[in-house]
Symmetry: C2
Subunit: 338 residues, 2 copies
């Protein structure tokens, strides 16, 4: 750990919203940790859809958050704000952050950090928080998924999709995914999806009916929305839950409320970034207790797509927007320790 | 209690769906209680919207239920099926039933009966189960209403609306209702509604915003649906819940799923009649424990609109369809004991 911290750092930011090429290196002051915060020397930063939306100008950072994109990081804690346990200094962690991940240094709240266990690379560690927190909260807390239930996940090979398959497998859910090609379906099955439906070739509503013997399934984790919503509801059994975590297909949906009422459906959804510090802390606690032991045992691993250097953040975004990735795209900042 | 039961009885039924005048007296066999059932000599039967929908042909009875309308009754238990505690014979109860209430005798499951406490008339007792079970489940269980929260209820002077006002007042909720006239608004306020909005004169979305200082409220109990749904959602604070229990304004609703997701709304709903015997038994247990002591103490009373003789069931339906009632419409069958 350096005796004295650098005062400036490289980050990947943008002046005005636009295509992937608006992302470029900039020099910024290293931020100083406030009360309860830690400063992380970033090894890797995960790339997520909200980063793309932010760069496009559709998803401004919440009040107080860094204007630099990046919602998850791994690295070493090199400075502590007031009130943080001194034992954290020098720890290698991954963390959920409200922004600023695409940089050499990034602030995180101490309680939003998870220690990186032996055997988990720092590149993998940076690829976990955003999808792990999102899927955990929406599938198990908001969606009340229980052992033995069946869940439909769109975008089966996305970061979210691959995490949903992984957590589903580890926690006793039968996961059905949709993907846009046979190759992606094969990848999803290999990861543990019980069924992967190529939506380009097959109607997923009919496929789900066939797979479930007409009974329907308990939960849909939807990132498409729009006209998928009524189709998703047709996949649900009575008392089914429909959880929206993105609206990649548009926000407007037509619902038959008689069906919602008579089949006792529940529709909800959430986004993680604007949640309170306290909420994220409680979620991190639950994940540390319930899921993190599986990261330590090697059973919980992110599906890694590709690692780009920080300087190529624009290429990373272009890859995500093209939908070419399977699993997580990560930026290398400081990289793995020597 | 008669030494020997009559073998036939008068009921109010209909041959083919239609207007209120299709209801007419018919003679039926007195049903015999099966295992776990009791036979009630009906004193009064409550009239509910689903009875009207059934008579119109829109809401057929669930499999196994009587074709005679009527979802709630009061009266004396005069016969027991196998396995029912002998102490129930001769008890005066009210009960939720899956049909058959508009008749001199009606079957109920023993665990769906609540004893009529001293001070509660049998006419009032027959007016409680359907709205009490419906509001309790949807507001407190499905809608997670908690002390101090604010709830919007449409149809403030309906049976459901008046029960929601009453339970809200007893359990620490602030209840805002909408009604179709100043007279109904005044009646709702007198019952304990914190605010009553005349929807014919005022936009309820603007009124709720004004009342809540722009913050919105926690729960909407909706029986209108259709184009009320997006307007209801505009009344909700973050994490708000929207519970549909009827679709009097039509079933088709247009939703903005981005708003559902970003404000973390939950939409759900239910109907009571098709639920399992077990579910209704558990609900009755909870109500017996949490709400029924307030019926015994005199704090929980239904709002009584008018009592019609069983022979005038058609007039009772016509009154409900005209929306003239404030509170519950009840049919007198055997009437109060001498």
């Amino acid at each position: 750990m350096p005796a004295k911290l650098a005062s400036s750092m490289i980050a990947a930011g943008f002046d005005s919203p636009g295509g992937p090429d608006v992302l470029r290196a900039e020099t910024r002051e290293v931020p100083a940790p406030g009360p309860g915060e830690v400063l992380v020397k970033v090894a890797f930063a995960g790339v997520n859809r909200p980063d793309v939306a932010q760069r496009q100008g559709h998803y401004p950072p919440p009040p107080g958050a860094s204007p630099i994109p990046g919602l998850e990081i791994s690295g070493m804690i090199v400075d502590l704000g007031d009130g943080v346990d001194a034992a954290m200094l020098g720890q290698t962690v991954c963390a959920l952050v409200a922004g600023g991940g695409y940089a050499e240094y990034c602030l995180a709240y101490a309680e939003h950090c998870l220690p990186v266990p032996e055997g988990l690379s720092l590149a993998e560690a940076a690829a976990l928080p955003e999808t792990l927190f999102t899927v955990w909260h929406n599938v198990f807390e908001r969606g009340y998924a229980r052992d033995g239930e069946t869940i439909l996940v769109h975008g089966g090979t996305s970061g979210i999709g691959t995490m949903a398959i992984t957590l589903g497998r580890l926690f006793g859910l039968t996961v059905i995914v949709t993907c846009g090609s046979e190759a992606k379906c094969a990848a999803a099955r290999k990861l543990g999806a019980a069924h992967a439906i190529n939506y380009a070739a097959t109607d997923f509503v009919e496929e789900v009916a066939r797979i479930t013997g007409g009974k329907g399934l308990e939960l849909v984790l939807d990132m498409v929305s729009g006209d998928y919503v009524p189709r998703n509801l047709k996949c649900l059994a009575e008392d089914g839950r429909h959880i929206t975590i993105a609206i990649l297909g548009g926000s407007k949906a037509k619902l038959n409320m008689a069906v919602v009422m008579m089949r006792r459906y529940t529709l909800s959804g959430s986004t993680l970034r604007p949640r309170s510090r306290e909420f994220k802390g409680l979620l991190a606690q639950e994940i540390a207790r319930e899921a993190w032991p599986l990261a330590a045992s090697g059973e919980l691993r992110p599906v890694m797509d590709r690692i780009f250097p920080l300087a190529d953040a624009g290429l990373a975004h272009a890859r995500m927007e093209a939908g070419e990735h399977i699993g997580k795209i990560v930026l290398e900042v400081g990289g793995e320790p020597e």
